[in-house]
Amino acid sequence: MKLSAIRPIALVLSREVAITLLLLLGVSFVVFIILYLSPGDPFSALLEGQLSSGEARTGAHEVLGVPPSWYARYLSWLANMLQGNFGTSIRTGMPVLGEVLRVGINTLILTLGSMLVTLLIAVPIALYSVVRGINKISWPLTMFAYVVSALPVFWLGYIVIYFFTHKLGLFPLAFGYAAATQRFGWLYALLPIFVLGVGNGTISEVIRSLRDEMGRVMAEDYIRTARAKGASVWKHSFKEGLLIPVTEIVAAKIPFILGGAVIVEQVFNWPGMGRMAWQAAQDRDYPVIMGIAILAAVFVRLGSLFQSVVYVAVNPRASKE
């Protein structure tokens, strides 16, 4: 690439990174405020384990140097977090960051895999209905996508487990880590990935937005020109009609898929962030769920950072806006 092509990308990248950091600061503040408002003073638990209420707590705060004002508490909490100290789990006593990162990998595999499944189903349907319009094949396919998007993902999970492991015996019955250590145990991972990919409720939306965008691009003058002179229509419509909308919708749907992961991990006993979040909410284990919320927000922001990089790389004009 020429230098002139890299410069706008670098410019936008630095701006986007700044925005991302600003938003993550906001995320940490929202998390702090929720916990600050909650009854039961999570900060005593967060900083020094559980303490009884009343004077003992006030005294302990003074002894341990917990700042009295809320903004000082926020700043000290933020400073701790920036040094990688997210506190320790109330239930297990382990440091939160290490635990969350350990299971975060599993969630990342699950979400990325299921996104791929979603796209593999949605993109062909969308392209077909753009090219052929609404006909005998595309209408039932679109309808099917609607039905699948409304399907409760937990029930879909049960059906898949029942048929693939009980009826057909195709996949190992052992759940979670036990399966991962077996030979072909990784095959078991395909089931939750497939279920989340089909049942995360985004297929119909992906189809709709792709169809709209692709339809708009197909009506543009430059596509008509390309068609008239016999050039490849796909080649000319790919960037604007497919690449940009796909990255846009994938970035926008990451939060939904992460939310769906909470349920699918529960159904399949998948040792990921969602299951940990569920457990933490059951136990009211504040530090853990805070760590998860912040890490999930980091995932989401990285996704949209990636999207804007793709957008600028495809369309350098965007950097001048």
């Binding site: 409760p152 708009r216 939904f256 569920w278």
Partner: protein, 297 residues
């Protein structure tokens, strides 16, 4: 996207036909199905709240467990404890109906407020609202709700306030886009020149005449969202607790019998969820295509 909806929006405006005549048959079918489901839900909610049920939803009938649909006396069969499925499904609507309305009202009210601020005033408030939108969109909704549950308590109204707040950005950005589009069409300028008060311009000319269909569509989609959230959470065990029925915990408690080949107790509520959410989605999309003229002729 912008230019496309503008063009089709303008075409839609100059035809005098009533909207159902220029609409697509498919869209009309979506809307009819959706309205049917909405009527079903509202009627069932009323039946449930006035206790007009075929059976007592808590009544055990140990003689008749796991009856399939169509059993005499139990139209939709019974669950694993012999409780009447139809009554439990009807009562299950109580779990999400009012909380869902709360979520919708919050998202519509604050979304409209922010959207008008950003679209009509623009400038700094627009930047702030964009920031707020991105901030809310950073959290996976379910994770945010689990955080709130851990911090406060698993109360459905608190949860639905969170659902409502997370829907605010969508409504706000739609209203904002609509107002920015309307601003190009001079009638707002004419209003100002005529000396109409800003209140009349915003409430009557912008919101009532030009944004009401958009708000109805968002309300519909928001209800689907709320049902999805409630069922997911009661499936996870944070919503309504057994023996009070909710569709989510019915699926969950029936699931123990699923692996033994007894599908009905968890499939019936799952189908109820499926058809209801589908109805709200199709109603929203169909209305969107017809009223906002995205595919209309």
């Amino acid at each position: 996207m912008k230019t496309y909806s503008q063009i089709s929006g303008e075409i839609g405006e100059f035809s005098d036909l009533p909207f159902w005549k220029k609409a697509d048959t498919v869209d009309l079918a979506y809307v009819v199905y959706g309205l049917l489901i909405v009527t079903f839900v509202v009627v069932s909610y009323l039946l449930g709240s006035f206790n007009l049920l075929p059976h007592d939803p808590q009544d055990l009938d140990l003689e008749l467990m796991m009856a399939g649909p169509g059993t005499v006396g139990h139209l939709l069969g019974t669950d694993f404890m012999g409780r009447d499925m139809l009554s439990r499904l009807i009562v299950g609507i109580q779990a999400y109906f009012l909380p869902g309305l709360l979520a919708i009202s919050i998202s519509l009210l604050f979304g409209t407020l922010l959207g008008v601020l950003a679209g009509y005033q623009g400038g700094r408030s627009d930047t702030l609202i964009t920031y707020f939108t991105n901030l809310v969109d950073s959290f996976p909704r379910l994770v945010l709700i689990l955080l709130v549950i851990a911090a406060f308590k698993p109360d459905i109204y608190i949860i639905m306030i969170v659902v409502g707040i997370t829907n605010v950005p969508v409504v706000a950005s739609l209203i904002k886009g609509k107002i920015q589009f309307l601003k190009q069409k001079n009638f707002i300028e004419a209003d100002t020149a005529l000396g109409l008060p800003t209140r009349t311009i915003i409430l009557k000319h912008i919101l009532w005449h030009n944004c009401r269909s958009l708000l109805i569509i968002q309300a519909t989609l928001g209800m689907g969202e709320a049902i999805l959230m409630e069922t997911s959470l009661s499936y996870l065990g944070f919503g309504v607790q057994e023996p009070t029925p909710s569709w989510g915990n019915m699926v969950q408690s029936g699931a123990n019998y699923f692996m033994k080949g007894q599908f009905w107790p968890s499939t019936a509520p799952a189908l109820a969820i499926l058809f209801t959410i589908l109805g709200f989605h199709l109603l929203g999309d169909g209305l969107n295509n017809i009223l906002e003229g995205r595919r209309g002729k």
